[in-house]
């Protein structure tokens, strides 16, 4: 690093208003003049590169077309041919008050998903209605979606007033009709402005370019730009309770670093955090800052990396909060959602649901109401058990495993989710009724059904992971059973299929005819390996907790499992014999020393240390939670599946 780049930052001149840009989405029916209005705003605020207008004028002449302000935006050749806007564009302009990010959202019905893409991040909206065409289905649908997305700062621009002779009567008719509609959906437009975008009337000034006359003296309200200047910037999230969804966990420089963005609240070194859904707590040890001095505090909006003082198991999707203001944890909730998938959204079919950094299987368990966005008429949920493209619906959703969330009015970031179908985000929803856990079993009808023989792939797709064997080996008292049970619990709570094989459930039944002689030990391990392999075949993650002292036996176990086509992880639970003997939980060591038990591993029988285990856990030097975290960090990525055509399953 250069020495100059490390020198102290100094402050110089101030560029006014840089900090409060407002994101404004422009929506409206196809051909109602959005692109023209935006082009006009760029022109009026002097926000275009020099020569751009001339360039477009010339291009129009070359094509024998009349110049239009819309061409300033419709840069793509194909768009010019169709003369409609295709996708969201985000460009900036600036009034004397502040800078704006403009989001142009298309009005064409087929492009609803593009409109959502733009509108979802907006602070305010300009909704266009052409005076000569009046309120259309799209105008209603867009109004509804703005309300669904929670955008309340809306200005309605009644465009093309020049085509209706700047008639006050026409304007008031449109205003009356649309106002009535908006009030039904709980949106109140801050203003209705009659404009002529192509002539620049009531965009920035009240007059027509060519004549410098005001064609609508009867209108005394604000222009579009002066109205935008009255809107408020987004509300600060710093005052809300802390929500820190974990994005990833890195291991760099021998440290576990928890990365993510603070969605709301503040986080300080020394804070005790509770991680949902497993409710583990730990204290923030540091907030990393690669390029500068260590930080003691970070706030909503920041992407941070932190370390914890106690190593607990944390993974992507966990949400850190403060204990006195934790989010809801549930597998069942009510939501209002919109759907834009190519296929219908069906009840009782599994979809992937994403909320912040969480990703879970989810299904619609009931549809309370389907709302046609244009008529606002309700379609009976008894007559339809699916949600079609562009529908809006009230539903109850159940997830496989606990979802961490907030109701949307409490915390928007943790109260909205998307649904993925065929790899693409196909719907979005807002949670308004978090319900506490319902332990009713998820009905399995039609979930991940198989068309023929049930293959390991089918099982993996249903479970969300592959079958696998985690083979713990180590001396008696090294901590295998405790570790196995804790890893099992974590995997189970994460929605995975898992089972522990240990002396308790094997010795007394399956292997009750075996003792501790060397040949019996060999047979014991062989049977355990075969059973583990079968269970992995059935789709389970199997954790075995046996001393399994001989290298050759463990090698054979590995071969059996690998031949069965499953992953095998050997984890050496390594604690010195002195430590194990001191622990002597079951009193076995003292009985072995006294000769009461013969052929006891470590005392009167050998233990062969693994040559090359996948994991080594030094249980005398690390806490149980640290060991658990290390096993999970190693195993979970290996058993994950990529998707329906993941070739590895």
């Amino acid at each position: 690093m250069s020495s100059s780049s490390l020198s102290q930052a100094t402050s110089v001149r101030i560029a006014p208003g840089q900090t409060s840009r407002l994101r404004v989405v422009f929506v409206g029916h196809v051909d109602h003049g959005k692109s023209t209005l935006i082009g006009r705003i760029f022109f009026d605020t002097n926000s275009l590169p020099e020569g751009k207008v001339d360039q477009i004028r010339k291009a129009c002449e070359a094509e024998g077309m009349e110049f239009e302000y819309a061409f300033l935006l419709d840069a793509l050749l194909e768009e010019q041919e169709q003369n409609i806007t295709i996708d969201t564009t985000q460009i900036q302009f600036r009034t004397e008050k502040r800078p704006y990010v403009i989001i142009d959202a298309p009005g064409h019905k087929e492009f609803l998903k593009n409109m959502i893409t733009g509108a979802a991040s907006a602070d305010a909206a300009v909704l266009l209605i052409a005076a000569n065409e009046g309120v259309q289905e799209q105008s209603r649908r867009h109004g509804y979606l703005l309300s669904l997305l929670g955008i309340q700062q809306v200005v309605v621009a009644v465009n093309k007033m020049d085509l209706v002779d700047f008639s006050q009567e026409v304007f008031e008719q449109v205003q009356k009709e649309y106002k009535a509609f908006l009030s039904q959906i709980g949106v109140e437009a801050r203003a209705f402005v009659p404009i002529s975008a192509r002539n620049g009337v009531n965009v920035a000034s009240r007059t027509v370019d060519a004549t410098a006359k005001n064609p609508m003296p009867w209108y005394e309200g604000p222009t579009v730009l002066s109205m935008l200047d009255t809107f408020d910037p987004p509300a600060p999230l710093v005052q809300m309770p802390l929500r820190f969804p974990v994005q990833d966990v890195y291991r760099f420089d021998q440290r576990r670093i928890i990365a993510g963005r603070i969605e709301s609240g503040t986080l300080r070194v020394g804070d005790t955090l509770v991680f949902s859904p497993n409710n583990k707590t730990s204290v923030v040890a540091s907030i990393e800052n690669w390029s500068g001095p260590a930080k003691s505090e970070a706030m909503a909006g920041e992407s941070v990396a932190i370390t914890l003082s106690e190593q607990i198991f944390v993974q992507r999707g966990h949400v850190a909060a403060r204990e006195d203001a934790a989010p809801i944890e549930s597998n069942r909730f009510k939501a209002r959602l919109f759907w834009m998938g190519k296929r219908n959204l069906e009840q009782r079919r599994p979809y992937r649901l994403k909320l912040a950094t969480q990703e879970l299987d989810a299904e619609i368990v009931s549809i309370e109401q389907i709302i046609d966005a244009s008529t606002l008429e309700t379609v009976s949920s008894t007559s339809r058990d699916y949600i079609a493209k562009n529908d809006v619906a009230e539903v109850t959703i159940q997830t496989r495993g606990a979802l961490v969330m907030d109701n949307h009015d409490r915390n928007p970031f943790m109260g909205r989710f998307v649904i993925v179908d065929d790899r693409q985000v196909a719907g979005g929803g807002i949670i308004h009724g978090g319900i506490y856990a319902d332990r009713a079993k998820i009905k399995s009808a039609n979930i991940y059904w198989s068309e023929g023989v049930v293959l390991p792939k089918n099982r993996a797709l249903r479970n969300g992971h592959r079958g696998s064997v985690v083979w713990l080996t180590g001396l008696s008292g090294a901590g295998k059973s405790a570790l196995a049970r804790e890893v099992e619990r974590e995997l189970f709570n994460g929605g995975r299929q898992v089972y522990v094989l240990d002396g308790d459930n094997i010795r007394h039944g399956l292997n009750s005819n075996l003792g501790f002689a060397p040949e019996d030990r060999v047979e014991n391990i062989r049977r355990v390996a075969e059973v583990a392999c079968l269970m992995a075949d059935a789709g389970l993650i199997v954790i075995t907790a046996f001393i399994s002292p001989y290298r050759q036996d463990r090698r054979r176990a590995r071969e059996i499992v690998l031949e069965g086509g499953h992953d095998f992880v050997e984890a050496f639970v390594d604690a010195p014999i002195e430590v194990c003997e001191k622990r002597d939980v079951k009193g076995l060591y003292s009985r072995a020393r006294s000769g009461e038990i013969t052929e006891f591993t470590g005392i009167s029988a050998p233990y062969e240390t693994p040559d090359n285990p996948e994991i080594v856990l030094q249980t005398d030097r690390e806490t149980l939670q640290e060991s658990v975290a290390r096993v999970l960090e190693f195993v979970i990525p290996r058993i994950g599946i990529g998707g329906e055509d993941d070739v590895s399953i």
């Binding site: 402050s11 560029a15 793509l76 564009t89 593009n114 985000v425």
Partner: protein, 321 residues
């Protein structure tokens, strides 16, 4: 060796400097090391940085087999900086430089210096067959600015080269430095933008993207471009470089030409087709002030964009970034 000790050789005879912009002083430093200065855009730059770091981490989480193209220009150096921030001083993926063989020579020095300074895992790709006129180019002969038009050269030496190296490494995601304000075509981009096997970007049917939920998987053979700088403007880039003190190539800064006037580059590309603009800006402060008054577009000096109408769109349709 200390990266500070890197010194430029004498390039005064190199043809890349035959036009307006003069060669750097022999023995000079390999980069421009800005003095750290914060203007009053802190909250805005913080927000851009946070979003970019979030996007880079999302990319790394969802696509482990990932690569970051690096042109050595100002935007891609900001990307390196943001990666280092995202991963606490590490960059857990390789960088890729598509070398057209028409790089300004001091840019290669900058590359060499940066690799050592940051400890980069750098892959350099040249479309050797196209330059030599061998293999599938045997019939057409060597491709270069002396034999073909700029659009063709850009396609073969950049896009085709990228396709070749992608086919070899099978990356499922590329972290790019595309910005919305660069070009109207780019204003339509998503943060996570899937492209198919033929590198086609179906802008008419892009997946929706909102609430920071992205298209995070793709079919075999496809890849996703993760556009971590999409929201940044040219001005934001300079303000951030200045605030953070990010070393960048010194060709962005004015040098005095033999005609007595001063010139700099606003955008860096192949030397035969990249023109310097007249400018007095020899500090970042001056560049930022210049941007406040200029109304020419950033890529005005890049000939391949203007060779014919909709050239950019055609390049994009063929897989250009």
């Amino acid at each position: 060796m200390s990266t500070q000790e890197y010194r430029l050789p004498d390039y005064s005879e190199h043809p890349a400097y035959a036009k307006k912009y003069p060669a750097p002083a022999a023995g000079g430093p390999p980069a421009f090391f800005p003095e750290k200065i914060s203007r009053d855009d802190a909250a805005h730059l913080d927000a851009l940085e946070a979003q970019s770091v979030f996007l880079i981490r999302e990319a790394y989480h969802h696509f482990k087999n990932i690569c970051m193209p690096w042109s050595m220009g100002k935007d891609s150096n900001v990307l390196i900086w943001l990666s280092l921030k995202a991963f606490c001083g590490h960059i857990p993926y390789p960088l890729l430089h598509i070398d057209t063989t028409y790089e300004f020579p001091e840019m290669l020095d900058y590359r060499e210096w940066a690799v050592r300074n940051y400890g980069l895992d750098l892959i350099v790709k040249i479309n050797e067959e196209a330059r030599a006129g061998t293999g599938e180019y045997a019939e057409r002969g060597p491709i270069g600015y002396d034999t073909a038009d700029p659009v063709t050269v850009t396609h073969e030496l950049k896009t085709a080269a990228l396709q070749q190296v992608m086919a070899k490494h099978q990356w499922s995601a590329l972290v790019t430095g595309i910005r919305r304000d660069e070009d109207a075509t780019r204003a339509k981009e998503r943060y996570f933008s899937p492209r198919n096997k033929d590198f086609e970007w179906d802008y008419k049917d892009q997946p929706p993207e909102f609430w920071n939920q992205f298209t995070t998987s793709c079919a075999a053979g496809e890849h996703v471009r993760v556009q971590a700088l999409l929201d940044w403007s040219e001005r934001d880039i300079w303000l951030y470089i200045q605030r953070e003190g990010i070393p960048i190539p010194s060709m962005y800064f004015a040098r005095t030409a033999p005609d007595g006037k001063r010139y700099r580059f606003r955008s860096l590309g192949c030397w035969p087709i990249t023109g310097a603009v007249e400018s007095e800006a020899d500090t970042i402060d001056k560049i930022i002030d210049e941007l406040a008054t200029t109304k020419t577009s950033e890529r005005a000096g890049r000939a391949q964009d203007h060779h014919e109408r909709n050239a950019m769109q055609k390049l994009r349709a063929k897989g250009f970034m």
